[in-house]
């Protein structure tokens, strides 16, 4: 047996580095969060698995032609996967609460402030402009948008940014309440809001996805893929004429793509490139983006409240950050903690849906500003 063969046989053990060991631990933590804590398991589990498989010594899965490489090329490099997931999200989202309450839409705009605030911070720390924009996009608080934008502007940071986006999104029920309580008075949190009358006609439900696509597509061409995919799914849903396609988008396609997306994202978390100071910075900036988003949403809602003579509950503002539909539930919960009879959920759902739309538009705006600069 030649020395070469022996080396070949031992290369697994000799190829172990401290980075791979740390990454195994990171994968373990993600698995723990996913399985034991039920935090976004649909994405964190595949991400953890991809991370583990990619960091095994000399893993053939990330070599040319390896499974993870193939999945990455098939759906991340060309942004196929995040967009298909958006079609599925669109097919599952009911924009009814927003359409009954169109004024909620501006709350969604306010909830994107964290994107830009954190971008400035990242610039000051020393990240390049595209990197700073990619880190800021964690503030979209929307997985596919974060992946799409960072893949375009700074693919080298895709791993940490996706992990930050999905992990924090899973932690929204823990992150939001303290910020909300800090920025509102008990009296504000007790404001009860009336429900208007309007049912939403079928026509409105059909016009909405087409109008949003046309509007965003014309005003911010870079947002066409994100907005267009989301609205395509929603159009199929509301048309009620293509149940087969709606169902396939929201189930078979979404499931397969989620698995592949998670694995491919996980495979970008290679120890040598992940275990660097910038990853820590990104994790720190990411949580800041969340807090800034929430704060901006609440402050904007307070402004509305001031103008409307105290009839608008500022908590609703926190639902504008996206993280659909979790943020709306947290708002309901915090409001109920003060006044068990208060029921702002449907208003919060409207603001939340607006945040979802605004996030995709903001993603397009970021791309437009940084593709040119």
């Amino acid at each position: 047996m030649s020395q070469q063969t022996i080396d070949e046989l031992l290369k697994g053990i000799t190829g172990l580095t401290w980075q791979s060991l740390v990454m195994f631990a990171v994968a373990g933590v993600l698995l723990y969060l996913a399985i034991a804590k039920d935090y976004e398991p649909l994405l964190l589990l595949p991400i953890a698995a991809g991370c583990l498989l990619a960091n095994l010594p000399h893993s053939p899965m990330i070599e040319e032609g390896g499974l993870l490489k193939v999945l990455y090329a098939a759906g991340i490099e060309n942004e196929l996967f995040p967009l298909l997931i958006f079609v599925g999200i669109g097919a599952m989202t009911d924009f009814g609460p927003l359409l009954e309450n169109p004024k909620m839409i501006l709350i969604g705009a306010a909830g994107q402030f964290g994107i830009f605030g954190v971008m400035i911070l990242a610039l000051l720390i020393g990240f390049t402009r595209p990197e700073a924009a990619s880190i800021g996009i964690i503030g979209a608080i929307d997985g596919p948008t974060s992946i799409y934008v960072s893949q375009r502007l700074a693919p080298n940071l895709l791993g940490p940014i996706s992990v930050a986006a999905y992990s924090y999104m899973a932690l929204v029920p823990l992150i939001m309440p303290p910020v909300m309580r800090l920025l509102t008075t008990e009296k504000e949190r007790r404001i009860r809001m009336a429900y208007g009358g309007g049912t939403v006609s079928r026509r409105t439900r059909l016009v909405f996805p087409v109008a949003v696509t046309l509007l965003a597509g014309i005003l911010v061409p870079f947002s066409t893929p994100l907005v267009g995919s989301l609205m395509l799914g929603n159009l199929m849903r509301e048309s009620k004429a293509v149940e087969r396609l709606t169902h396939a988008s929201a189930n078979e396609i979404a499931n397969a793509v989620t698995l592949f997306l998670g694995l491919a994202i996980g495979s970008t978390m290679l120890g040598t490139s992940f275990l660097v100071p910038s990853t820590l910075a990104i994790l720190g900036l990411g949580i800041m983006a969340f807090v800034l988003d929430i704060a901006a949403g609440i402050l904007f809602a307070k402004l509305i409240n001031a103008f409307s003579g105290g009839t608008f509950n500022p908590l609703i503002g926190a639902a504008g950050i996206s993280a659909f539909p979790m943020a709306a539930r947290v708002v309901q919960k915090v409001a109920q903690d003060e006044d068990f009879e208060n029921f702002p959920l449907m208003h919060a759902m409207g603001a939340n849906a607006a945040g979802q739309v605004a996030s995709t538009v903001a993603g397009g705006v970021i791309l437009a500003l940084f593709a040119a600069g």
Partner: protein
């Protein structure tokens, strides 16, 4: 410094565009909602007019067939038989609409909503045809 300036400028422009796009969308949605309300009112008005013109026999006091919301096709009883109980008419109307909906889901494919060859489509026609033929093919055992 340069970066801070760039960042602030970008923030102002970026948030400005986001707010603008959503504000336009807001106006648009308000317009659609207005249109909806107007369409609903007009449909209701026309229904009443039609009813008057067509001589709706159903007891005007009954609310069996109220002016429907926008988008809901209005049932117009043109020349309905005099003696019928309005509640009976309402029940029949609902049954017919129900049947139409079922038919749409099952048999829509006069317009081929379902895939060619789909059992969902063929069942009733083929069942009839097979029955006439008096023969059916046997499942594999």
């Amino acid at each position: 410094m340069d970066n801070l300036l760039f960042g602030l400028q970008t923030t102002v422009i970026g948030m400005g565009i986001v707010f603008s796009v959503l504000a336009i969308l807001w106006c648009l949605l308000m317009l659609v909602v207005k249109l909806d309300a107007w369409a609903a009112r007009r449909a209701a008005a026309r229904a009443v007019a039609d009813a008057a013109a067509g001589g709706l026999a159903a007891d005007p006091g009954s609310e069996a067939v109220p002016p429907a919301a926008a988008g809901t096709p209005l049932v117009r009883l043109v020349g309905a038989p005099d003696g019928l109980d309005p509640r009976l008419i309402a029940a029949i109307t609902i049954a017919i609409l129900r049947h139409e909906e079922t038919r749409r889901l099952q048999a829509a494919p006069a317009m081929r909503s379902y895939w060619p060859g789909s059992l969902l489509f063929a069942s009733r026609w083929v069942a009839a045809g097979r029955t006439r033929q008096g023969q059916s093919w046997r499942r594999r055992r």
